[in-house]
Symmetry: C2
DNA sequence: TTGTAGGCGTTATCAC
DNA sequence: GTGATAACGCCTACAA
């Protein structure tokens, strides 16, 4: 593409002021303008005033790119989400941005759609941005990703799930165990035929982890875990179909409790139960995951687990800030912040034997 | 290494390889390595192989920061959201990231929480990143922000709402009008006592815009618009309270239709109606906004408007890419892409006079 | 408090 | 096809 026919063409972007323009207008050197932004107290009162006026007038904004290159440390925190469109990650992102706002750090986001390979790709891209810190949302990276991460000399925080023995800081809760929590909740009530319902879309590895936790707990209690995979892509449909199948079974064969991998599926079941001639929780106890906004309002109100989404995002950002502020000499070990994933017991999970 | 001839400590970040390291290992000059990444066809086959091996081995990743500075064009698209935690913006973000992924552009996100001032601040920060393009999600910026935008010589797209006479490209739908659409839907059915219910939190200016559209339509039809502001911060509670108040009124005084500013509020009303002794839509017709996942599953199923969230994000990104690819000489006018905000008529809005 | 020199890692330009 | 050189806009180190 024919770009420039100018002879001594400057590579400068047209129209963008630089620190030198400001300096020239103020009759000072560039470094003074730099100080005005980075260490105002080192600039005399009068000059500060003058610079402020000029900067406001021409609308100069310092280049983060040049600054980052020169100083060797950018002002970006990079975060890889697994599914940006879900409320889970929305909560995380909000927690992070809220916490980072005051620090002047920018959040650079990528979406990995629960794929390890996409995550690796995102990490690779991020490395090129010289991130100030990295926030990830899984703990099982590809070997290549893990290698890049070890090579990076910046704070790395894994947010959401926590697991033992990881070489990075972590903020969240033990995701696998939450599956056991729900199993336990029903076992305590004397239920024995308990079923875990997975979404048809196998991409969400977190649901699988919970299913694993469920299975372990069931085995520990001496029962065979029954895990079912939904037939419908739409989560509400999946739940509705599930409860309809249950209604079609002989009462003695029915599951006494259904643990859905998400509140959406559970809601599908609850909202459809009446049409199937079922009364919940009498005919079947129900639990979900995620504490969706509607969970408490369903009839019956849905028992579910509430992961501290926003708080995890916030704490991940705080951990990053703390690590950045910390004396690099003071080698801290790996931080592991546990945030609650609370079991909210509501009407839907009352077992009727 | 050629660079250590300086007496001073290198400002280089420890451990990070540079293009020169790769070049030295391969016995070529830095520019060749640069070409390997940016124009591989200009590098001989053998060299390419050799470079690939070295790069893989040491895990070199080019610095986006340095590259952006040198080339004058970064690889970031900056987007300012109004409420990252809402499904609306989650959909937008997903649409944008999906569309941008292949292009090698990174999405830099900020959250303005429906505040003009925070938006201005975000734009100011973004300007420092030399964005390749900017995506905004409102069309009423502060004067300072507007000035910065005009000064920026990059594609700017306003996504979500569209309005006439704006100096930027737009993708979305006329938000104000959607309020009228719902009014019309009820007026057509012969309802006259129609009420619009706003959330208690006044930060969402979009709800206000829809309320305005509602009011205009009502006046046009010769009726006094009745707009009510919810008393509860929680949207479900607000809706529930609303329907309870309605139940307490004499039948002749009751609104015949309630237009809630969000599906959450509408759901609160629907889920609570039975407890109030009401049967919907017989006792009151209901409509919401947003087409939440649960909307179609409520009993009665909720009539609502479905903004094309994902598609708007996607189209905003596509518009950006198209503008970037376009010959800058070919001065295109302002693009305005209209995407549907469809009225989904379901059971809840059947008016019983 | 202010200024000078040089470098951060890459790419544009032009030469070979 | 490959290389030398000089930017890009700012900041660190050191000097005055």
């Amino acid at each position: 593409m024919t770009r420039s026919n100018s002879l001594r063409a400057s590579r400068r972007k047209a129209g963008a002021y630089t620190i030198h323009d400001v300096a020239a207008l103020a009759g000072v050197s560039a470094i003074t303008v730099s100080r005005y932004f980075n260490a105002p107290e080192k600039v005399s009162e009068g000059l500060r005033e003058k610079l402020r006026e000029i900067i406001d007038r021409i609308g100069y904004v310092p280049s983060q790119v040049a600054g980052g290159l020169a100083s060797g440390h950018g002002r970006v925190v990079c975060a890889v989400m697994q599914n940006i469109a879900s409320s889970t990650f929305a909560g995380l992102v909000k927690g992070m941005t809220d916490e980072l706002r005051a620090s002047g750090l920018q959040l650079l986001l990528a979406n990995a759609q629960y794929s390890r390979e996409l995550e690796e790709q995102a990490i690779r891209t991020f490395v090129g941005w010289h991130p100030t810190a990295l926030i990830l949302t899984r703990d099982d990276h590809t070997p290549a990703a893990e290698a890049m991460l070890r090579g990076l000399n910046v704070p790395i925080v894994e947010a959401w799930g926590v697991a033992k023995g990881r070489p990075f800081h972590q903020v969240g809760f033990p995701n696998v165990e939450t599956g056991g929590t729900l199993a336990e909740h029903f076992l305590e009530q004397g239920a024995t035929r308990i079923q875990f319902v997975m979404p048809s879309n196998p991409e969400d590895f977190r649901a699988e982890q919970r299913a694993r936790g469920f299975a372990e707990q069931m085995k520990r209690a001496g029962f065979t875990p029954h895990i079912q995979v939904a037939q419908h892509d739409d989560e509400f449909d999946a739940g509705a179909f599930c409860i309809a199948s249950l209604a079609a079974q002989a009462k003695s064969a029915r599951a006494q409790a259904l643990i859905f991998a998400s509140d959406n599926m559970a809601a599908g079941a609850i909202l459809h139960a009446e049409e199937c001639g079922l009364s919940l929780p009498r005919d079947c106890a129900i639990a979900g995951f995620g504490d969706a906004a509607f969970a408490a309002r369903l009839k019956p109100a849905l028992t579910t687990l509430r992961p501290a989404r926003y708080e995890i995002g916030q704490q991940a950002a705080r951990t990053v800030l703390a690590l950045l502020a910390a004396d690099p000499a003071a080698k801290v070990g790996m931080i592991q912040e546990l945030l609650p994933c609370e079991l909210l017991v509501r009407e839907s999970s009352l077992v009727h034997l």
